[in-house]
């Protein structure tokens, strides 16, 4: 039986609430775990992430014990490897996602009868995220093909794409900068991504 802790009563407020991940707060908690082994901060992180990880894991593992194992192992790695998180390289959500995806990958590989070789941390390193450094960013800018594709987008989508991808602003910063609601920035970005995907898929095939 599945508990319905995570069941979803519909609610008008939902569209606003979904934008409220408090990134600075998550970052502060994780730093505090890394630096002070702060159990209180870890408890906050746990309460934020564990129910969500459980729900995602239930989608991948039919067995409740395995879904629990994903939560246990992911949060355990968050506690034990917090010092490997580098806030200059990305958000806490991205880092925890990486830890969770890696645990899931290795578990699936084990269950599917491949091997217990735990390859995920070599494929997706959790110490240095794959975020690009500035020289890679220059290469990116020099990629005229990509820029010409972006330039074909409607102006409103160009603004968010250029801000997000080329100037590396966060969605929150962009919303402020462009004086738009965060939801609008997100939906424009998704629209633009859809179009870029089609074009880049062809070019980079």
């Amino acid at each position: 039986m599945q508990t319905n802790l995570l069941s979803k009563p519909t609610n008008d407020k939902s569209s606003h609430m979904s934008d409220k991940i408090n990134h600075p707060q998550l970052c502060q908690w994780l730093q505090s775990v890394a630096q002070n082994r702060d159990q209180q901060a870890f408890t906050h992180l746990f309460k934020f992430f564990a129910p969500k990880i459980l729900r995602i894991a239930r989608g991948k593992f039919p067995n409740e014990a395995q879904a629990n194992e994903v939560v246990q192992d992911t949060m355990s790695n968050v506690w034990r490897k917090a010092h490997l998180f580098n806030q200059d390289k990305g958000a806490v959500t991205t880092w925890v996602y990486t830890v969770m995806r890696n645990i899931t990958f290795d578990m699936l590989r084990k269950i599917q009868g491949n091997k217990e070789d735990n390859l995920s941390d070599d494929i997706w390193p959790i110490a240095e995220s794959m975020s690009t450094e500035s020289d890679a960013f220059d290469d990116h800018l020099e990629n005229k093909a990509l820029l010409s594709v972006i330039d074909k987008l409607p102006q409103s989508q160009q603004d968010v794409v250029k801000g997000f991808y080329l100037r590396e602003m966060s969605q929150e910063q962009l919303a402020k900068h462009l004086n738009l609601p965060l939801g609008t920035v997100k939906s424009r970005l998704r629209l633009a991504l859809g179009k870029l995907k089609v074009q880049l898929g062809e070019k980079y095939d």
Binding site: T3, N4, L5, L6, S7, K8, P9, N11, M17, S18, D19, K20, R37, F42, F46, F48, F49, P51, K52, R55, V71, Q72, M75, S76, W79, R80, K81, A82, H83, G90, A91, T93, T94, V96, Y97, R101, N102, T104, F105, L108, R109, G113, N114, K115, D117, N118, D122, I123, P125, A127, S129, M130, T132, A136, D139, N143, Q171, L200, G201, Y204
Partner: protein, 235 residues
Amino acid sequence: MIKHHPKFELIQAFVNGELPASLSAGIAIHADMCPVCQQKIAQFTDQVAEVSFEEQYLDRFIVDSVTADSKTAADSLDDSTEIDFEQMIAGIVKSPAEVSVPKVEKTIEFKGQRYKLPTALNNMALSKTAHIGKLSRTRLQLNEGEIHTSLLRIEPGGGVPEHTHKGFELTVLLAGSFHDESGDYNEGDFIMLDSSHQHHPISTEGCLCYTVANDALHFTQGINKLLNPIGSLIY
């Protein structure tokens, strides 16, 4: 300069952790050498992470706001799960921080030529190297059924006879270069071929490739049909 990159669909599946280890490693190796794909992967990961954890956030928020007002069924279930979670937290915080071990750089040698092993392959078991003519192959033992993964070294002037494949064939060029009917390939290129392709790669200066294939190569021309050993060597 790198000209061949993974399709966006592959990058998505890679970020979602949905590809087999063989293909995941192929994309990781390419991304290590390709700033464009590295950037795409980083940004797509940010987005997937944000979406994964924000949709769920909304659920908890609503449960919280409901339970704050009244005792409901959701509340008691919330409590029972909380207890589980409290125990889990108590267990976890007893464990020490992990002492990080610096990653060792591994190398692999083919007939006296030494190459740096891509870090994505660091913990994969390697078979003994087999040689035929100017080809050397070491299998990566991933146990993925019909999907076979190898490191293939072609000595200068060597090549693979013209062939097609019934399944797919991925080649990531780790070092050196080769060319076939469609053009030249250089370090970092990510070349995914399906059964509609027929090709005859030749390496003038020699090269090392990471290859993933899910079906034996099928040689298409006259005398080369006798080259079955090479087909099974490469697959």
